[in-house]
C-alpha cells in the first residue's frame, strides 16, 4: 500500500478497498445464494457487471479529461495524464469483462463466445481503447501526445452508448438489463451493489497512483531532454 506515489488519502482509500474486496469475495462466493436459473453462474455476474460499469466509467472520465485538455481555459497536462491513467485502468476492466463474460457464457450458453451484438460491440470497444493507448505511445512532445490522444478519446467514447443499448436495439443472445428489469433480489442484488462500490473505490485508488507514475515518467522524459541538449551544447563548444 505504501510507496513513492502514496499519500494519506491513497492509503485510506487503499485500506477501504482491501476491506471491501474481502467483503465482496465473501458475499460473491459464499454468502449469496445460487440463482434458480443460472445456479452458481450468477456469482460470475458479481464481477462481470461491476467490471463493465468500471470500464464505462473509466472511458467516460478519459473523454471528460480529454475535453478539459482540449479546452484552452483548462489546458493542463494533468488532464492528459488523468485521461491516460483512466484509459489504462478501463482497458484492464474491459478485458476482465470480456473474460468473465466468456466464462459466464460457457456456464450459461455452453459456449465461450458468440458473435451477438453486445459481445461484439464490447470487443470492439476494448480494441478501440487498446488503439487509444497505442496512440499515446507514439513519439512527439507531451503536448502533441495530449492533443492527438484527446481527439481519439472523444471519438472512442461515442461507442459506449452503442455497446450499452445494443441489448435493446438488436435483441441479442446476451441478456437484457438484470437490475433494471428487477431480476435480481435481496442478497444477489446486494452482492452486485457491493461489487460496484468496491470496484469504484479500486478505480479511484488505481488512477491516483497511475497518474502520478505518468507524471514521473513525463518529468524523467523532460530531464532526459534537458540533459541531451546540455550535452550537445557542451560538444559544440569544444
Amino acid at each position: 500500500m505504501s510507496g513513492p506515489t502514496s499519500t494519506p488519502a491513497t492509503r485510506a482509500i487503499g485500506i477501504a478497498t482491501i476491506v471491501g474486496l474481502i467483503w465482496f469475495v465473501a458475499f460473491g462466493l459464499f454468502l449469496s445464494p445460487d440463482d434458480a436459473v443460472q445456479r452458481k453462474g450468477v456469482r460470475i455476474l458479481y464481477i462481470h457487471v461491476p467490471s463493465a460499469w468500471l470500464a464505462y466509467l473509466a472511458f467516460i472520465v478519459t473523454a471528460v479529461s480529454s475535453a478539459a485538455y482540449l479546452w484552452k481555459r483548462t489546458r493542463s497536462l494533468t488532464w492528459d495524464r488523468l485521461a491516460g491513467a483512466s484509459a489504462e485502468v478501463g482497458v484492464l476492466f474491459m478485458g476482465i469483462t470480456l473474460l468473465t463474460g466468456s466464462l459466464w457464457g460457457r456456464v450459461s450458453w455452453g459456449v465461450y463466445w458468440v458473435w451477438d451484438s453486445r459481445v461484439t460491440t464490447t470487443a470492439f470497444l476494448f480494441v478501440t481503447y487498446l488503439g487509444y493507448l497505442a496512440v499515446r505511445g507514439l513519439g512527439g512532445s507531451h503536448e502533441q501526445r495530449a492533443r492527438r490522444s484527446a481527439v481519439v478519446a472523444l471519438l472512442a467514447v461515442l461507442e459506449i452508448p452503442l455497446v450499452h443499448f445494443s441489448v435493446e436495439w438488436w435483441r441479442p443472445l446476451h441478456q437484457q438489463e438484470s437490475i433494471a428489469k428487477g431480476k435480481l433480489e435481496n442478497l444477489m442484488l446486494f452482492s452486485l451493489f457491493v461489487g460496484v462500490i468496491v470496484f469504484t473505490l479500486l478505480y479511484v485508488w488505481l488512477i491516483m497512483h497511475r497518474q502520478r507514475v505518468l507524471a514521473m515518467q513525463d518529468a524523467l522524459d523532460d530531464r532526459g531532454l534537458e540533459f541531451a541538449i546540455a550535452e550537445r551544447r557542451q560538444e559544440a563548444s569544444l
Partner: protein, 43 residues
C-alpha cells in the same frame, strides 16, 4: 464444473489487478529514485 468456472473468473480478475498493481508499484519505485522531490509534489 460450474464451481471451477466461478473460481477461475475470480482468480483471473484479482490476478489481473494484482499484476497491474505490482508492475505499477515497481515502476513508481524505480522512477522515484531517479527524480528529485520537486518532481514529486505529492510527497
Amino acid at each position: 464444473m460450474e464451481t471451477g468456472f466461478v473460481v477461475l473468473s475470480y482468480v483471473v480478475t484479482f490476478g489481473g489487478i494484482a499484476i497491474l498493481v505490482a508492475a505499477m508499484m515497481r515502476r513508481a519505485r524505480s522512477m522515484s529514485a531517479r527524480l528529485p522531490p520537486e518532481d514529486q509534489p505529492w510527497t
